[in-house]
């Protein structure tokens, strides 16, 4: 805590910039380059605790966790076309589940995380079964209501969740019987599972299932006439996104050793949506960078601004809406959409 090195806080947003020169080539050449950059980034991220002080390392762990939330939200917003304002609810469900399992049962390595994923997936299935029936702005409001409901639950069920004070005293995660106390080890633990979560979302979006989700986003009626059930696909997408958000929450419980109702509140959901919009919805890697930016402003520079980092984030919101139509990903990729008529109006059914 004492040594707060100011130099290499974020190398993350810098690394992908060489990629911006790449996409001007033929699309077939992009994939290997993208994989190369991803592998390079992974090596850099894995090496971070060896060269960087504690505070930036733990901030980077926070960025990874928030990025997992943003990327899972992107599966809904960018790939499936479902703008959710309550996605932090599943993040929070995962965080509370992992915290409670670690506190009352066992903190042995993957068990709290597995529990977090399972419970968050169930929560997403139960609420998504209702939510994905609505369209457009009604989906926005229904997810807002669901998120609010789950936050109320976390505040009022104080016997279990600790109420407004939050769930504190979560023990450190144990790997092979040894608790992970050092910041660097916790960071590696977060990194491994965050990469796993990113890989799941990436694989889903590349699969035929992901293609069907994109089809539903662009023209739901047509997909229905082709024999797809948009309801089932959207629900499955919602559950996967919720489960990965739950994984992120489980990692939050490990990293913070504290979970509060604010972690699943409206502001967290809104900031996750900001990360997706700033990064570029639908690109998956863009929202990860957007999330890093949000954490950088809120948690790293926020304390210097007397806790008014949100003011800067609000300005970022406004600027992003006007000047970053397709986010950071849109800046890097010039031929984002072919043809002059972009599908701005999502098929509202």
């Amino acid at each position: 805590m004492s040594a707060e090195a100011e130099t290499p806080t974020v190398d993350e947003p810098i690394v992908p910039s060489p990629g911006s020169t790449g996409p001007s080539g033929s699309p077939g050449r992009r994939l290997p380059l993208g994989r190369l950059i991803a592998a390079l980034l992974l090596v850099v991220l894995a090496a971070v605790p060896l060269f960087v002080a504690q505070f930036p390392t733990s901030m980077l762990a926070r960025m990874l966790i928030f990025a997992l939330l943003a990327v899972s939200l992107d599966l809904l917003v960018g790939i499936t076309g479902l703008p959710s304002l309550g996605h932090a609810a599943y993040f929070g469900v995962g965080a509370y589940t992992a915290g409670l399992v670690a506190k009352h049962w066992t903190a042995a390595a993957p068990i709290p995380l597995v529990a977090a994923v399972v419970v968050a997936a169930f929560a997403a299935a139960a609420t998504g079964w209702l939510a994905v029936r609505s369209h457009g702005v009604f989906f926005l409001m229904l997810t807002l209501a669901i998120g609010e409901l789950i936050q109320q639950l976390s505040e009022s069920w104080s016997d279990v969740t600790g109420g407004d004070n939050g769930l504190y005293g979560i023990p450190a995660v144990e790997v092979a019987g040894e608790p992970l106390v050092l910041v660097g080890y916790v960071y590696w633990y977060v990194l491994i599972f965050a990469v796993l979560g990113f890989a799941v979302i990436w694989a889903v979006s590349r699969s035929p299932f992901g293609a069907a989700l994109r089809g539903i986003r662009d023209n739901e009626a047509r997909m229905r006439s082709l024999g797809y059930s948009p309801f089932r696909y959207k629900l499955a997408g919602f559950v996967i996104a919720g489960a990965v958000a739950g994984l992120g929450g489980g990692l939050l419980a490990v990293q913070q050793q504290l979970v509060t109702p604010a972690d699943l509140g409206f502001t967290t959901s809104a900031l996750a949506l900001l990360a997706v919009a700033v990064g570029g919805a639908g690109s998956l890697w863009g929202p990860a960078i957007g999330a890093a930016l949000v954490v950088l402003i809120r948690d790293v520079y926020g304390p210097d601004l007397d806790g008014h980092g949100t003011l800067v984030l609000g300005v970022v919101f406004i600027v992003a809406v006007y000047s970053l139509r397709h986010g950071i990903a849109g800046l890097a990729t010039t031929q984002f959409r072919r043809g002059p008529g972009r599908q701005t109006e999502k098929a509202d059914g």
Partner: protein
């Protein structure tokens, strides 16, 4: 039944007062949304501006001068803010709800942070004007006079808004814009002017609601989020773009809030959002939503 009514009389009055306030707040949001398809998540911030204007000009001293000045200043703030928001959302028309939601959310964050920088994070109380800052006897119950006055103000405003929207030619134009704005613009009406007018009017009402709600809820950070959610619940239950729906939604939510908090304090919030979820699932366009217009 009569016994239950007598027991809950104060709660029912409270519910009416909350309902009045919610109507003033929500009718503008409903019209802007129903008409121009703009979801203004900054509506709560307008209320917050009103609440702090009320605090600034009354400042713990009960005076009619201060209270009326606050109302006038808040109205001016609301009008200007509404015009700005209308102009700001103009380039986003046709770009989907997500961009509008992000923009207005950003504005709301900035406003709330600026207010917190100026006034700090302490809870501030706003005092009702003289004559209304005491309690009176209503059917054997002691009840704050200000809340009764609030019910009256809400009723008067509801009648005025209803008359304007349903009976005047201006109201006909607004209703026509809610139903089919392409048709309205094809007969030669500048949509943007109608939108700016309704946006300014609705925002003014939201800021006024902030001043009027001051003696009940005070002025504190986080209030914008609370009232925004309540207003969203109201307009979703009542139906978008409908004055009658906003009125009935406000009265229903006022009672749910008040009776729920009095009788089942632990479940009040769940009832509120549970009601919202049920209505959205069963009747996605609200109980009194217009059947026409784009889905």
């Amino acid at each position: 039944m009569t016994e239950w009514f007598a027991d809950n009389f104060v709660s029912i009055l409270n519910g009416l007062a909350i309902g009045s306030l919610l109507f003033i707040l929500a009718v503008g949001l409903s019209l802007v949304f129903g008409m121009m398809d703009v979801l203004n998540l900054g509506h709560g911030a307008l209320y917050l501006i009103g609440a702090y204007v009320g605090f600034q000009f009354t400042g713990g001293i009960s005076s009619w001068g201060g209270f009326l000045t606050a109302l006038a200043v808040a109205a001016a703030f609301g009008l200007v803010a509404g015009l700005i928001l209308s102009v700001a959302t103009e380039p986003l028309v046709g770009r989907g709800h997500l961009d509008q939601a992000l923009l207005t959310l950003g504005v709301a964050l900035v406003v709330a942070e600026v207010i917190s920088i100026i006034f700090g994070d302490d809870v501030q109380n706003v005092v009702a004007p003289p004559g209304l800052n005491e309690s009176i006897q209503v059917f054997g119950n002691t009840y704050p006079a200000y809340r009764l006055a609030l019910i009256g103000v809400g009723a008067v405003l509801a009648i005025v808004v209803w008359l304007v929207i349903e009976k005047s030619s201006l109201g006909a134009l607004i209703r026509a814009s809610v139903s089919d704005r392409e048709m309205v613009s094809s007969v030669g009406v500048d949509n943007r002017k109608v939108k700016a007018g309704v946006f300014a009017f609705g925002s003014m009402l939201a800021a006024l609601a902030g001043v009027l709600g001051g003696p009940v809820y005070g002025a504190r950070t986080g209030l914008d989020e609370t009232v925004l959610l309540l207003a969203l619940v109201v307009i979703v239950i009542g139906g978008l773009g409908s004055v009658r729906g906003a009125l009935i939604g406000s009265l229903v939510i006022g009672q749910v809030e008040s009776l729920g908090r009095a009788n089942l304090p632990e479940f009040a919030s769940f009832m509120l959002f549970g009601a919202l979820a049920v209505v959205l699932i069963v009747r996605p366009r609200g109980l009194f939503g217009s059947k026409v217009g784009a889905p």
